[in-house]
Every structure is written in C-alpha cells, then in structure tokens.
C-alpha cells in the first residue's frame, strides 16, 4: 500500500501573521495586530505550505481580505519569477 503523505503537524505550522497577544485573562494586552489583515486558518495554512509571505499579498476578498486564490496566485508568480541573478 502506498504510504499516505504526512499530515502537517501543529508544530510544523508557525503562524506567519498572528502577532496577537493572548493574555488568558480575557483582557487585551498589547496590540491586536491580527486585525490588520484578516486571514482565515485555511489561507494561513496554504500560505505556510506554499511558502508565501502574507504581508506581501494583496487581498481581493471583501474589504481586501486575502483569499486562497490570492495565495495561489502569489505562489504561481513567485515560481514563474526569473531566478535572481547570482
């Protein structure tokens, strides 16, 4: 039987955009910078998989929200971009 592709574990995924501070007390502490660009977990995971830096992506969703298509497009452009001169 073919081996299943490994499921990315929680440890593998470092949230690239969330710099929110959780206080656990229910009170905000520090900036809630995640609101700068609302990214859904599915988009965040896709970006992590594709190695896309979300801060460089222009969102096309409601209110400039970054959608999966935007990440896929960014990944495609990056792949197609000519390699930087050595």
């Amino acid at each position: 039987a073919p081996a299943p592709s490994p499921r990315p574990s929680r440890e593998d995924i470092t949230p690239p955009v969330d710099v929110e501070t959780l206080s656990g007390t229910g009170r905000a502490s520090g900036t809630d910078a995640v609101t700068e660009a609302y990214v859904t977990p599915l988009v965040r995971k896709l970006a992590a998989q594709e190695g896309v830096d979300l801060s460089q992506v222009q969102g096309t969703g409601v209110g400039g929200r970054i959608r999966k298509q935007d990440v896929q497009e960014a990944a495609r452009r990056r792949r197609e971009a000519p390699a930087a001169p050595a």
């Binding site: 929680r10 501070t21 229910g26």
Partner: protein, 458 residues
Amino acid sequence: MSDNGGTFDLLILGAGSGGYAAAIRASELGMKVGLIEKDKLGGTCLHVGCIPTKALLHSAEVADAARDSETFGVKAGFEGIDMAGVNAYKDKVVSRMFRGLTGLIKAHGITVIEGEGKLTGPDEVTVDGTAYKGTNILLATGSKPKTLGLDIDGEKIITSEHALKLDRVPKSVVVLGGGVIGVEFASVWRSYGAEVTIVEALPHLVPVEEESSSKLLERAFRKRGIKYELGTPFESVKTTDSGVSVTLQGGKSLEAEMMLVAIGRAPVSEGLGYEEQGIQLERGFVKVDENLHTGVGNIYAVGDLIPTLQLAHVGFAEGIYVAEQLAGLNPPAIDYAGVPRITYSEPEVASVGLTSKAAKERGYEIVEQDYNLGGNGKSQILQTQGSVKVIAQKDGPVLGVHMVGSRVGELTAEAQLIYNWEALPSEVAQLIHPHPTQSEALGEAHLALAGKPLHVHE
C-alpha cells in the same frame, strides 16, 4: 472443498458503521465489493447502539419537558412512560433508517452476503461453506458488551442490548460503569422516573473527558437525583427475589431491581480465524498500522475491532480511509484527537481536541477560557447549566473544546472545524455568532481568548 463464491476487489466482514462505509466508498471508486453480515446491515450503531439509545434519550427529553412544563407556563401533567409506545417509536426510527441503508447498499451495487463469515485464508472468507475471495479484505466485526464474567441473565443483570428492549421502567437500577453508555442509560431511566445509582471505579463520571466537564455532569446529575459511587470498584452482585444486591469494595451494598453492566465493549475477534492467518491481537483488538493494515496480506481492519475510539463516525472515517487508500487516493491520516465525542445524557457532555491535561503532557503552554452558560441567553431560555471551555496554545491555535449543557453536542460540529483547521482564537473571534444561540458561548470564549471579550464576566 468449499464452493466458490467469486472474487471481489474488496471483501468486507461485518456490515456495521465501519464495514458499510468502506463498502459504499469502495463501490463509488469502482471496486467490486462483497459485504458479509450475519445479522442486519447497519450493525451495533443502527440496531442496538447510537440510534435506539438516542431515541430513548429523546423520549426522556420529552418526559422532562412535560414534567417541568410549569416552569415554561405550559400546563401539562406528566403521567408516566408507556414503554410499549417508547419502543414503537424507537423501532420506527430504526427501521426507517434500516430501510434507507438497505436501499443505499443496493443502489451502490454492493453484493451482500448473508451469514457468518470466517477468515480462511489471507484472501479468503468462508460463509456457510462457500469461499469468497478478496483481492483486499476488510475486517469490521465490531464489538460486544464486556461482562467481566458476570452472569448476564437478561432480566436482573443486563447489558445495553437488554436495556434497549425492556418492556417496563425499572423502579431502581444500579448502573455499573460511568462511561458514555452507562451515563446515557442512567439519564434515560432517571427521566423515566427510576432511582438510579452509577458505580464507577475511577474518580469521575465520563472519566476520559476534561475533569471540569466530569464535575459539571456530576453536579447536574446530583441535582437530578441520580446517585453515584465514584472511586469505589464493584466487587460482586447476587440476584435476589426482588432484584439484585450489589456489593462494592469496602463493603457498601446497593439493592435495586436490576443492574446494567456498562463497563465497556470488547472486540469481536475470537474464533473468526484471525490469529490463524497470522493477524496479531492485543487484548482482543486487531493490531493495525497507521494505514489500518493488519500486516498480513492485503487485510485491513476498522471500527470497534481495532484499538481506536469506539464511535460510529470513527468507523465511517476509517472505512472511507481504507477504501480511498486501496484506490490509490492517498488520503490524509485520521487525527483521532480531532474526532468529536458526545455523551447524549441530560445534560450533554461534548468535546473535540485535547484535554488540558493531555495538552500539557504534550508540552504545550496553554491558555483557557471557561465560559459559563449562565451568560448565554439561549441556554438561559432552555434553563440549562454548564459551560464551554476552550483551550488554546499560548499565541497559537485552539487545542481543545469541552462543553457541558443541554444540546451542546451539536456545537461540536463547529468545534471540529476549529480544531482540525488549527484556527487561532482571533480567527474565530472575528466572526460574531448568531444571537441568541448556544453557539454564542463558543464565540464568546474565542473572543475572550483573542483579548476582546464581549459578554464575559471576569
């Protein structure tokens, strides 16, 4: 020599949740499927498990509603339970679902082979003298009640199967085992008017749940007049003229009309030729690797037969997994921690993901928010108590959701997405939940974890 029953791409032994889900998915993927069943399509869950117990629990809910109707300004006297009526309702639901399933299996062109099968080769199952060949074989023979060697007479000392067929409401019952099944029956009988005592050797009811959930359930049960003996192992039982006399370690004894033995379910793996073909068993469970492969030939196993969570939807998921695996679809492994667990008692206990204890054991630094249903409008309307506790990794995703309260089981659907999609509290908090619903409690807990509590009392 046995007759030749033909060759199947996938030959499945047992048509319960695991077996029939594999059959359906495999047939969708173009395989020729043989499904062997000695009893009825649907197995434990449909006939003596999930469905009939939840029908009893709904009758119980109706009984409670009638009993408490005055609280809501409704004049309705509760006059008792008509077990014949309960059973007719329950059987009607089961047979309707059974007809549906039978039609589904037929529509998929799956060959159903009636009879008791035995594994007679690495690619062969024999049923009533006919040998069927399978390019792949799936073992899905499920489980049966554990009885600890007790003398189950079906009258005074019973298992869940007998409990589902009672023609009367017992005056008093001792429920041996405070796990899901024991707690559900205790809840039903109490709503029906019985005196119920649960005996559990571990220190808590539903002991695999988050400890705070167990405590909330215990408090609710105490209010409902359901008694329990926790941390006191059972010692012995003897039948008396009027019922049973149960002795606990330490000497305490309990008298009741009957005793339900609900101490877990053991895999059905004996005498079926498994070991003869080289399949390894452990405490009766078939051992499988992460692909649910037994290590022998092309033999796989799913459901209650293997040592994963004994839940119908786990059986479904495993059955589908094996079918997709065989079709070369390379399905992602099942994350068992991400499977929703529901105890359908009144109140319900439900969870997805890790308990705080497990999360700490795995080395996570965690933050928690326990949202009391006292602050949730819809729960107040239902007059239910309980809480929704969300556990997250510090600066990271949600690791677990643990809930207690009437009807909270349905909330695991959302919790399942949150956990499995590794959502951050802030990503959930961004979406304001519909008002007034119980799901708002989940929303509030995430809002609080995201540092922006709305209706949260400190």
